[in-house]
Symmetry: C2
Subunit: 297 residues, 2 copies
């Protein structure tokens, strides 16, 4: 039995999965902040899953962890997980010492991509597009995570698409992320709104022209990312996840509307059926934790 | 022994390769125009390689063919190879009938990508960016061609990067191909110049401001494609081939100059060392024909 943890800024989602990658137990614990607390929380979550399943910790086949930040998969080191108060942490080594079993560490977006692919049956080329505070992507091919030269998660959010766009925090101008992310929406909306994407959708529905513009920009930016993923890696499915995706059907309808319009304007795009390739991550399912459990060495 | 043909608009490049993918014989014949002539030329080229190697045609292990247009790899059918006067042609089936051996058909850019990867040793993730009259790409991972859902060659040239750009023939606005291709350069330069890219480089060297602008746009567009390939698939090498790449070092220096500037503006890009990942396809080597010989079923 394998265990997977999705360590987020506010909570840790933990699952045990069977040999076919299906979750058999699940629990959540609040996230700790800072290196010591993060290790403590992870160990607590594993102990919790052990109690729920009745399997002793040292009898689990492996523990896989998805965590934000830069991850060195080989060493299990995590860098720059700002939301968790981590600058550098040898998370893999610390947990192996503590738990006495195989621990595998992966970037959270890449772990979620693996989980999304598993939930779709794991065939073909799937791109997972995470639209949260930022925008990132990962590609899974026949159930295996794509690993390029550097092992970076795809920084698709930092592809510039408008030379006249705003300056992005990364130093470039007009990056997708400046319009198509939680941060991008918040930047354009009223400062201090705790749920800016939800507010923008509601205000647009009520006829607010500024909100409608921001909402349209979000959909166009996500649609651009979908087009990029199809035209570069011919993804047959693009699954959209992350906090912004929880808007649900209205967001999906906006994105598919843009892709349908582009398909009419450009017949070659129309033939590729971009609207039919897009779907939202199923809500409520612990996809990222399941993906973490499925991480291979 | 395997045979590879690269069927272009003006000539067919033919090679025989040994078990390790090294060319042992090479010849060129002028291309035929229209379905009957294309089949005839291909058969002539195979017969020529047979004569050079002393191996009877029916003793070759396979014949692989790279050809422009839309290719159905499974059936060997070719559609819309406009430069060759082909609307539809069952090239694979016709040649199997005629030669009595295994014939494999692939899109020319994808075949060239396979050849380029082979010439680099076939390790890691390599993107091949073809800048000819248009712009297209193909990705090779540990020596195997990436095949996505639809099996399209990467239409990276039709990624829009400027909402204020010119209308592209595809129906979108500001596509990379409108500035970063032979056709894109010709559109902006004096009509009727038979070698517009060469002329633009020469005129820019002589201080012509219009030529300098076009040349800068070409380098920026190619650099954008390189950035897209690195940020989506983390290509550790991007090999640039196609007619425009024959400008050679001055073009490479321009592209690397843009990437170096971007790396200074955006530190995360700088860390990815984009200039170090770019190289030009080695000139004079029959890379596309060798790649065609290496096509797998």
């Amino acid at each position: 039995m394998r265990v997977g943890l999705d360590i987020g800024g506010t909570k840790v989602d933990a699952v045990a999965v069977d040999d076919r990658g299906r979750p058999v137990e699940r629990m959540r614990v609040p996230s700790g902040f800072g290196p010591v607390a993060v290790i403590e929380t992870a160990a607590t979550a594993v102990a919790g899953i052990s109690a729920l399943t009745g399997v002793p910790v040292n009898r689990f086949d492996s523990v896989g962890i998805g965590i934000p930040g830069m991850v060195n998969r080989a060493s299990g080191r995590v860098d720059h997980a700002v939301n968790l108060g981590i600058e550098h942490l040898e998370l893999g080594a610390e947990l192996i010492d503590r738990l006495g079993i195989d621990v595998r560490i992966e970037n959270d977006v890449r772990a979620a991509a693996l989980g999304a692919s598993n939930s779709l049956g794991g065939h073909g080329t799937m791109a997972y597009l995470n639209v949260g505070s930022g925008m990132a992507a990962a590609i899974v091919m026949d159930g295996r995570l794509w690993t390029g030269g550097t092992g970076i998660a795809s920084e698709i959010g930092h592809l510039p698409v408008d030379p006249a766009g705003v300056l992005c925090g990364c130093g470039q101008r007009g990056c997708l992320e400046t319009v198509a992310s939680g941060f991008g929406v918040a930047r354009q909306w009223h400062a201090g709104d705790p749920l800016p994407v939800r507010s923008v959708f509601d205000a647009a529905d009520a006829g607010d022209p500024k909100a409608s513009r921001i909402r349209a920009g979000l959909a166009e930016g996500i649609a651009s990312a979908v087009r990029t993923l199809v035209l570069t890696v011919d993804a047959d499915t693009v699954v959209i996840g992350g906090g912004v995706s929880r808007i649900g059907q209205p967001l999906l309808a906006d994105i598919q509307g843009v892709l349908t319009r582009w398909g009419r304007e450009a017949p070659f795009l129309g033939r590729l059926d971009l609207p039919g390739r897009v779907q939202l991550l199923t809500e409520g399912s612990p996809v990222a934790a399941i993906g973490a459990a499925l991480i291979e060495r």
